[in-house]
Symmetry: C2
Subunit: 468 residues, 2 copies
C-alpha cells in the first residue's frame, strides 16, 4: 500500500493524493453516505485518471468514483477504500451553439453548465433538485432524470459522446459530436447508468437544445385519479410538442409544502386528492400563453380538472416551482424512508392504495407522502412517522413498498439507481437472465472487479454464500 | 450438418426449415445483397428462435438474422450460411394508447405497425423509405433513423424494452414498459444498432407518441450554405417543439427529382443552390398554420430564405414529400455509389466541395447528388456517371468520399450501419481502443462467433493476417 501511495503521488502530485484526515474530510459535505475512505485521489486530467487506474489495477486495489456526492443510493460508499473524485476536472471546454454541443469535463457542476449554456444562448435541459452540486459525470453514471424528462428525455438522451477510462487505465475516447452515428456499437451506453462499475467517465459532449422563448406554468386540481392520464394526454396533444413538466402531488404532500414551517403558499384550495404542476415551454410567449390557456380551459370544461391557476409572472412561476422543489419538508415526518419507483400510470392508484394499507396495518400512526413525474411513470414515495430509523424498520417498509410494486411489474429505481441501497431488490425488477448478462458485462470490462465493486450487483462470493 | 438439419426440423417443424431452392428463393425480393444461404430458418416463436440458436451454437454453425431484406450495407449477407428469418414472427401483441406503448414481434413490418398505431389513435414516429418492407427487428438492429429524427430521435429513442436471444439460446427478456428504469444496466442498448452480432431481437415494446393534430409543410430556397443552419435554428426556436422535418436538397438533386422521367413538379423555381423541405407537426391546425407562416415570413424578411411555398392541402403535402422520397431517380446517373455520412453542419459546405473536386479531378464526367437530414447532420452523398460499377471504381470513390470525411471527424455511417460494406472504414471513424472494446463485447456475448460473424468487425483471423 505504501508503494502504491508513493506511485500515485508521483503520477498525480502530492495535492492529488489525500490520505488520513484530509481524505476523511473530503467525504463530508454532501448528501450521500460515503463512509471513511482511506485515500481520496483528485486527478486533474484524463491522463491522471488513466494512470491512477493503471496503478490501482496492477495492485488489485478497488476504486470508488465520486461526483457531486449527492447520490441517494450509496453508490459512492467508499468506507476503507480508495475514492477517486473528479472535482478538479471541472472545465467547460467548449460551448458551440451553432453545432448544438457543449464539451465538458466530468467534474463540472450541472448548474454551472446550465448557466454557461444559457448565457451562450442555448439550453441544456437536465434539471433536478441537486443541480447545485451534482456533476455531469455523476449525471451520466446514474442516467439522471429530473423535472423535464417528459420533454427532453433522461441524461442518456442528452449525451452525444463521452470519454471513459476502463479498469486497466485504457482511455476510451468516444467524444462523438454527431446526432447520428451508426458506425459500430454505441459504446457510450455502457457508461450511462452503470454507476461507475464499468468505467470512470472523464469528459462528455452534451447535446444542447434551442432556448425556449416562452414559459407557461399552472397548478390544477384533479378530483379522480383516472382523470390524470386523460388530462396528461390532452395537454400533450393540445400543446403540440411543448409540454415540459407534468408533476403530480398527492394532497398530503401538497399540504405539507404549503403549511408552516414551509414557506410556500397554496396556489389552489385544499380538498382535492391530486394537484398537478403543468408547464409548457415554446417559441412565442403571446401565442403560447393563449394556447396554454385554451388547453386548460378545455380540460376544465371536460371535467378532467376542477380548478386551475396560471402564473402571471416569473415570481409566481418561481413560487409554483419552489413548492415542488421543497422536498425537504418530508423530514417533518421523521423517521422517513424515501423511494423512487416507476410503474404504469394505470397501476398507480391501486399501487399507492396497497402501500398505504400495508403501512397503516403495521403502523397506524404512519404517514405517506407521494409526488412525482407522473408523465414519466415515476413516483417518489415517502413513508414517514415510522417507529424508528433503523435497518429493521427499513426492511419492513421496503417489503411493503416493493412487494406491491413487484406484482405490477414496476421498477425499484426509476432515476436514482441501485447503488448499495437497492441491490437486494434488483432481482425484484430484473430477471435472473438479465442479472446474469449484467455480470457477463462486468466481468468482460472489469475482470479484476476493481471499479466500484459491490455496487449494483451483489459480489459473486457473497452471492454464492447467500445462496448456500 | 444432416444431424443439425434433422434436429432443427424437430424444433421448428418442416415448414420452419428451408433448404435447397426454397432457401435460395427466400433470399430474393428485397433490396439487400444476401447471397445464397444453404438453409433459411423460419421460427414462429421466441422459443423456436432459442432452440435454433442452441442447436447451431452446439454445432458451431453461424446464423445470419434477416428482417425485411432492405438493409443497405450487406448486413444480411448469408452466402453459404444459415439465415434466420423473423418473417413469421409478425404479430402485433398489444397497442395500449393510454400507456403509450405497442408490444410487437420483431418480424412486424414498420408500416403495418405505424398504421395499426394510428388507427388506435397514437403515433409511432419512425418513418423511412423502406417502411413497407423493413421490420421492427431490423429497425432495432440497425438503429434506424429516417425523416423525423430531428423531432423524435432514432429507433434507440423509441424502444422501451426488448427481448433478444443470445448466441447460446438464452432468452433475455427485457420487455420494459416504463419510460424510466434505472435498475441496473440498460441491456437493450446492446442489441440496438449492433446489427445482429450480439443477439437476435425477437420482440419489443415501442414507445408511442401523441398523434399530431396539425401538419404544415413547405419548400424554401436558400442562397448561401451559411443561411441553412441559421434558418434551422430559427425554425426550431420559432416553432417551439414542433419542427418535425428539415430535409435539404442540393440543386442537382432537386432538379433530378423534378424533371422527366421523374413525375414530380418543381414547387419552386430552379436557380438556387439549396432547397429545404421543412415541416411542423403540432396540436391545433389553425394556430399552428398561423405560427408556421409567421416563422417563414420572418426568415424571408431576414434573408435566411429567398423563396418559399407552403402546401395548401394534403395533396400538395404529399407531392412535396414524394419529391424527397423519389430517391430512385439517382439511378439515372448509373453507375452510382451511395453513401450515408454524418458530420458537423459547419463542415458540410467545404466537405461537399472537396468531394466534388476530388471526383471531378478523376472523372470530369461524374455527377454528385446530395440530399439529407441536415438537421441531424446526416447527408446522403451519391456520386454517379462513373466509368464502371466495379470494386475498383468503388474503392477509388470511397477513398475520395471518406478521406474528406475523416479529416473532419465525420462518421462513415449515420444511419445505415456498417455491415460488410463499410467494415474496412470502421477505423476511419472509430479509434483502435473503441474497436478493441467492441471486440471485448462481441467475445463476451458470442464467444463462438456464430452471430452474424464478420459483420461490423473484421474477423480476428483475417485481421491478424491483414496486419502481417
Amino acid at each position: 500500500m505504501d508503494d502504491l501511495v508513493a506511485n500515485l503521488k508521483v503520477a498525480l502530485g502530492s495535492s492529488g493524493v489525500l490520505t488520513g484526515p484530509a481524505a476523511a474530510e473530503k467525504a463530508q459535505g454532501g448528501w450521500s453516505k460515503l463512509g471513511a475512505p482511506k485515500i481520496v485521489l483528485r486527478p486533474a486530467s484524463t491522463d491522471e485518471v488513466a494512470q491512477a487506474l493503471k496503478l490501482c489495477h496492477a495492485a488489485g486495489e478497488a476504486i470508488v468514483p465520486w461526483g457531486g456526492k449527492t447520490g441517494l443510493v450509496e453508490g459512492g460508499e467508499a468506507d476503507g477504500r480508495i475514492a477517486l473524485s473528479l472535482d478538479r476536472m471541472n472545465k467547460i471546454e467548449e460551448i458551440d451553439v451553432a453545432a448544438g454541443t457543449a464539451t465538458v469535463q466530468a467534474g463540472c457542476v450541472l448548474q454551472t453548465v446550465c448557466e454557461a449554456v444559457e448565457a451562450a444562448g442555448a439550453l441544456f435541459p437536465l434539471d433536478l433538485g441537486a443541480r447545485g452540486s451534482a456533476t455531469i459525470g455523476g449525471n451520466i453514471s446514474t442516467n439522471a432524470g429530473g423535472n423535464r424528462v417528459i420533454r427532453y428525455g433522461m441524461m442518456r438522451d442528452m449525451v452525444l459522446g463521452l470519454e471513459a477510462v476502463l479498469a486497466d487505465g485504457t482511455v476510451i475516447s468516444s467524444m462523438n459530436h454527431l446526432i447520428k452515428n451508426n458506425a459500430g456499437y454505441d459504446l457510450k451506453q455502457l457508461f450511462l447508468g452503470s454507476e461507475g462499475t464499468l468505467g470512470v467517465v472523464t469528459r462528455a459532449v452534451l447535446r444542447l437544445r434551442p432556448k425556449p422563448l416562452s414559459q407557461d406554468t399552472a397548478y390544477v386540481a384533479v378530483e379522480d385519479f383516472e382523470q390524470l392520464p386523460k388530462f396528461l394526454r390532452h395537454m400533450e396533444r393540445a400543446l403540440g410538442g411543448t409540454l415540459s413538466a407534468f408533476e403530480v402531488m398527492w394532497e398530503d404532500f401538497y399540504k405539507l409544502v404549503t403549511t408552516e414551517p414551509a414557506k410556500g403558499k397554496a396556489p389552489l384550495e385544499y380538498g382535492h386528492p391530486y394537484y398537478v404542476l403543468v408547464e409548457s415551454m415554446g417559441g412565442n410567449q403571446e401565442d403560447d400563453s393563449a394556447r396554454f390557456e385554451k388547453a386548460l380551459m378545455a380540460s376544465l370544461e371536460s371535467g378532467e380538472v376542477v380548478d386551475a391557476v396560471i402564473a402571471k409572472n416569473q415570481a409566481e412561476r418561481d413560487a409554483m416551482w419552489s413548492l415542488r422543489d421543497d422536498v425537504g419538508q418530508v423530514a417533518r415526518n421523521f423517521p422517513i424512508f424515501t423511494f423512487d419507483v416507476s410503474l404504469k400510470i394505470s397501476d398507480m392508484e391501486s399501487y399507492i392504495a396497497e402501500v398505504r394499507e400495508g403501512l397503516q396495518a403495521k403502523w397506524p400512526e404512519s404517514s405517506l407522502m407521494v409526488f412525482g413525474h407522473l408523465g414519466d411513470g415515476n413516483l417518489h414515495v415517502i413513508p414517514g412517522s415510522l417507529p424508528a430509523h433503523n435497518a429493521e424498520t427499513r426492511k419492513a417498509v421496503e417489503q411493503i413498498v416493493y412487494a406491491a410494486l413487484r406484482k405490477r411489474g414496476g421498477s425499484v429505481s426509476a432515476e436514482h439507481g441501485i447503488g448499495l441501497e437497492k441491490r437486494p431488490y434488483l432481482g425484484w425488477t430484473r430477471s435472473p437472465e438479465e442479472v446474469a448478462l449484467m455480470r457477463v458485462l462486468k466481468a468482460a470490462l472489469d475482470p479484476k472487479n476493481i471499479l466500484n465493486p459491490g455496487k449494483v450487483l451483489e459480489p459473486v462470493v457473497a452471492h454464492a454464500k447467500a445462496a448456500e
